[in-house]
Symmetry: C2
Subunit: 253 residues, 2 copies
DNA sequence: TTCGTACGTTGTATATTGTACAATGTACAT
DNA sequence: ATGTACATTGTACAATATACAACGTACGAA
């Protein structure tokens, strides 16, 4: 318990208040040396450059020229910081103009814009939940993206479901792509070395009699993609399927 | 460097060797008190009961009646342990018999089996990469699931892409469901309390003039699902779209 | 103009994590 | 019988988020 004062406690800033920058300014005390936006921008820069696991409170404070604990004046904790980063990203996202285009091209552009965002900021794909917190960036994005579904004859509920479905596909594809890149980078082994080490065991264990389909299909896929996994190809394939699936819904309406 | 011996080093067990239990048995020295399978089983039990973040080397060792460092005799590190857990799960997975059913029902059952697996073991959805390591469990699953696509006229490459696409959807849906549950549990706030705290700000900030579509659709979706997000409904919706999308591919062939 | 107090800043400290390392004892190959 | 490979474990370390209290600053009220 604090020594004397207990009446005038500073209320902890709520995540929603933070997202909307609705916290009341403090008149008393020393001036703040930073702003929430500066902290968030530095955090995004750090995560972009070195990944989400390099975004530590210490590193971030250092890049801002402050002591680690200082950041807790601006943000209640790391989870809230990541939420702010996401909302800032959504708010400044590039998006293709699609007015007047057929619906399928509108949705394809929407998907590609989101995919590009996640590919440019891989940490965002990992950190983004299916329903991000309702900040201004997220809501602006939601509003804009919903409008791409206008005129399709879908109910509001179906529209919401369809958008979430499309965005979920994009997020997963981007996550998979980022992860496959990260694995490749972390393995510190060329494909040749990998086969030299693991090839003999794999050859013994991948019995064609036991796993006839798996071996045949796996080999065909590996040759076609010139590697075990081609994320961009997977995105393209999935996007077509996803749009076909939504087309069936649209035709019903 | 070790004091005297340097000639006979124990080679670190490779992940593939571990997955296929292909490590050579050690003749010398004391008997092992555990097996890799026991360690993996205990780890799965712990993760099932308390989540992936509760699965620490210390807790796992304690549940096995050993000192923490002992586990490193069985597994080179935590990452490999999780890979083993996943492969074990895939190897013991329940699956619906679907021979003779129409292809759409075969794939729907495949999706539901996977969804059930991830819902029963939420840590697996979080830990599972798009292309899990080639252990016996994973390969058996791959072989079986590929066969559900037989007779559709798809090329091997398309079959592989289609299966990955379907499984990716299921994994995402399960992740979202688990996360939405976790948030609800962690918030320690009833929906009523949440609205009491955040309602006033949200009402002010969700301007109908600025976000007309978002507000309308968001409200419709919220009312329809009787909550902000209904994971099971989202899975059902997405599964229909996904199967429709694959149907378009099948019809081409 | 003075002064009390709210608040920004920061050094220190704690609990928790994965795991490296070296000591100890065991059991088989020779 | 004995040397050595190996299982087990106690101790140690680096890194994490963040709680807490000390310190100084600058404004509102007197």
């Amino acid at each position: 318990m604090s020594p004397v004062s207990a009446a005038t406690d500073t209320p902890k800033p709520n995540l929603l208040e933070l997202l909307w920058r609705a916290a009341p300014e403090n008149a008393r005390g020393p001036r703040k040396g930073l702003t929430v936006d500066e902290v968030v921008a530095a955090a995004i820069e750090l995560a972009d450059a070195e990944g989400l696991e390099a975004l530590t409170v210490r590193r971030l404070a250092q890049s801002l020229g402050k002591a680690p604990m200082t950041l807790y004046t601006y943000v209640p904790g790391k989870a809230e910081l990541v939420a702010l980063m996401l909302d800032a990203l959504f708010g400044s996202m590039e998006h293709t103009a699609t007015e007047g285009l057929p619906w399928r091209e509108r949705l394809a552009a929407l998907a590609r814009d989101n995919y590009a965002l996640y590919r440019a900021h891989p940490w965002a794909a990992a950190a983004s939940p299916s329903r991000p917190p309702l900040g201004p960036g997220q809501i602006g994005k939601y509003e804009r993206e919903l409008r791409a579904f206008e005129g399709l004859g879908l109910s509001d509920v179906d529209t919401d479901d369809a958008l979430a479905y499309l965005l979920g596909f994009v997020r997963t594809a981007a996550q998979d792509a980022a992860q496959s890149e990260a694995e490749r980078a972390a393995s510190a082994m060329s494909d040749g070395e990998w086969w030299e080490v693991n090839g003999p065991l794999l050859a013994k264990v991948l019995d064609v009699d036991r796993y006839p389909t798996a071996v045949r299909v796996g080999e065909a896929a590996g040759e076609a993609h010139a590697s075990a996994y081609d994320p961009e190809q997977a995105f393209g394939f999935g996007l077509e399927r996803t749009l076909d699936g939504l087309a069936a819904l649209v035709e019903e309406a």
